[in-house]
């Protein structure tokens, strides 16, 4: 499709492009926490483990304390804490909770299908 119409470049092309690049894409992740609660600490450690396991070398994780940057809660449409936002690759996703449910985290990060795909191959 995109080869047929190279002249027109719209958002869907970007989307296709992103998809075509697939799992090789770099992950841009933001984890918003609220202070050093046990839940926050747990979320950070759980997430780091998952990232190291599945996204080694191709992720960028930023941990932000909302107490330090309260304005960001509005800007990023955050209500729950902890919240992990997957900015890239698309689609945009929010993953809330302490990341203890690994399956769901992978689902949220679009890594579960990937794993299945790999298995299928």
């Amino acid at each position: 499709m995109k080869d047929n119409k190279p002249k027109i470049k719209g958002p869907s092309d970007d989307f296709d492009l992103t998809l075509s690049k697939g799992y090789k894409d770099k992950y841009v992740l933001r984890l918003y926490i609220t202070g050093t609660t046990s839940r926050s600490i747990q979320a950070i450690s759980n997430l780091k483990k998952i990232c190291q396991e599945y996204l080694e070398g191709r992720y960028e994780l930023e941990v932000i304390d909302l107490f330090q940057h309260p304005g960001l809660a509005k800007d990023e449409q955050i209500i729950a804490a902890p919240t992990l936002i997957k900015k890239l690759p698309l689609p945009f996703r929010r993953i809330i909770g302490d990341m203890s449910n690994k399956e769901k985290v992978l689902l949220g990060l679009d890594l579960r299908e990937l794993k299945n795909e790999k298995d299928a191959q």
């Binding site: 609220t34 309260p70 449409q77 955050i78 929010r94 809330i96 302490d98 203890s100 949220g108």
Partner: protein
Amino acid sequence: MEKAEQNTSNMSLPKSPTGIQGFDEITAGGLPAGRPTLVCGGAGCGKTLFGMEFLVRGATQFNEPGVFMSFEENNEELIINVASLGFELENLIKNKKIVLDHVHVERSEIEETGEYDLEALFIRLGYAIDSIGAKRVVLDTIESLFAGLPNQLILRAELRRLFRWLKDKGVTAVITGERGNETLTRQGLEEYVSDCVIMLDHRVTEQTSIRRLRVVKYRGSIHGTNEYPFLIDETGFSVLPVTSLGLEHIVSNERISSGIKALDDMLEGKGYYRGSTVLVSGTAGIGKTSIAAHFAEAACERGERVLYFCFEESPNQLMRNMLSIGIKLEPWVKKGLLKFQASRPTLYGLEMHLAVTHKFVNEFKPDIVILDPISTFDIGEKEFEVKTLLMRIIDFLKVNQITALFTNLTSAECSIESSDVRISSLIDTWLLLRDIELNGERNRGMYILKSRGMANSNQIREFVLTNHGVELRDVYIGASGVLTGSARIAQEALENSEVLTRKHEIELKKREIARKRRALEAKLATIRTDFGSEESEAIKIIEAEREMIKRLEQDKIEMAVSRKAKTRKNSTKNLKK
């Protein structure tokens, strides 16, 4: 408003005035300050607007900035939606009086991966509050979170915490909630917000919608418990606490003319009381509107302001029709003393009518209000509602010292008195127009059924619409009751002729006496002349006799002389003998 503030200072529970017309009166000062209030109701009943007006009025009238956290509409939508109600949100946002925060929760974007809390929402709200020093917060509609976040246990615990947190923050909060099947709100928010619960309702009966508001609960405060009608119009929300009006209005002794002199005469020669309620009822085409128009014209001539609600005719039609009986209303409209407000009664619900009446009366500030006719409200089985509506209108007008004139169309089938019975107790002066069918004619009769506080005439008068207005004619009572129309005219002619004959007779008598006097005088004159001639005759005879005697003496002397019997001397001697 004054009253509200006074109450606030008197009561132990501090209150935060909403500035919403009427609402502060029924809650004796507003919402509980520093506490959350739940506003619940079905879709489209005005929850968002209630919250928004609470904030806008707070920011503009009470210098209390506010945060509006919307879970449904985004900021642009909100600004546009409330702009139609006269709120300029953009300016308020610019001036840091109001903060809008749209919380967007999209289920498909969210993945729950374990324990979490809503601390971020707290931070977000806290940040918004602190950024402008907000005293008021609206959460609209926080129940949307239940759709976005699957874990209800966490959510419920967090909401409980949120409301506690709002209390600790000391902000006056309005939380809106969608109405549930058996609970006040779908998610049972009333469990968490228990200080004040307000229910809004929007129901449709007889194809007209009525909005109502009820204070379900208000901990630590007295409040009106009724269902109050409210209205959303271009000036926002207004609640009508008019049922709370007592019968304590000031009364006036001033009398104002009805515009019809003969009618004034029937009312002690002075007319209606100012601030009283006049009802003109009668069958179709009997001239109710004409009486109303007379009253309006007279009031305008006195320089008073008249607000005329017409529910059946358009103002132009009404003015044209009244011109045919010589009532010129148009100049007064142009002068701004007379204002017509025409609408079909079915256009809004009864409550809306009440609200609209309130609004126009407050705007126009009339001395006289005319509702023509009130019977058009009476569609379907709404007797009670109509009565309460009228009662509220009357109370409202009385409190404002406005004289009200209602016309009421009564049906011919039932007796006029009984068909109006439900409102009769509200009426001060009740004029009844009825058609009198007699001698193959239909004529108009009028009488005063009642008039509180005056010795009114008890006569049934015939009234006639002439080209110079309504005229009341004198009454003739015939064998079969009041004579009207041609029967009256015949009677009038009869009486006139009788008077004439009588006059004629008197004239005749007078003439006869004069004639008799003349005859008598003539007789007297002849008698006098007769007597005069007799008298003169008698005198003549007497003189003749004397002459005769003289002559006889003379003759004797002359005879003696001629006989020479004696000398002159002798003769004299003889004479001496």
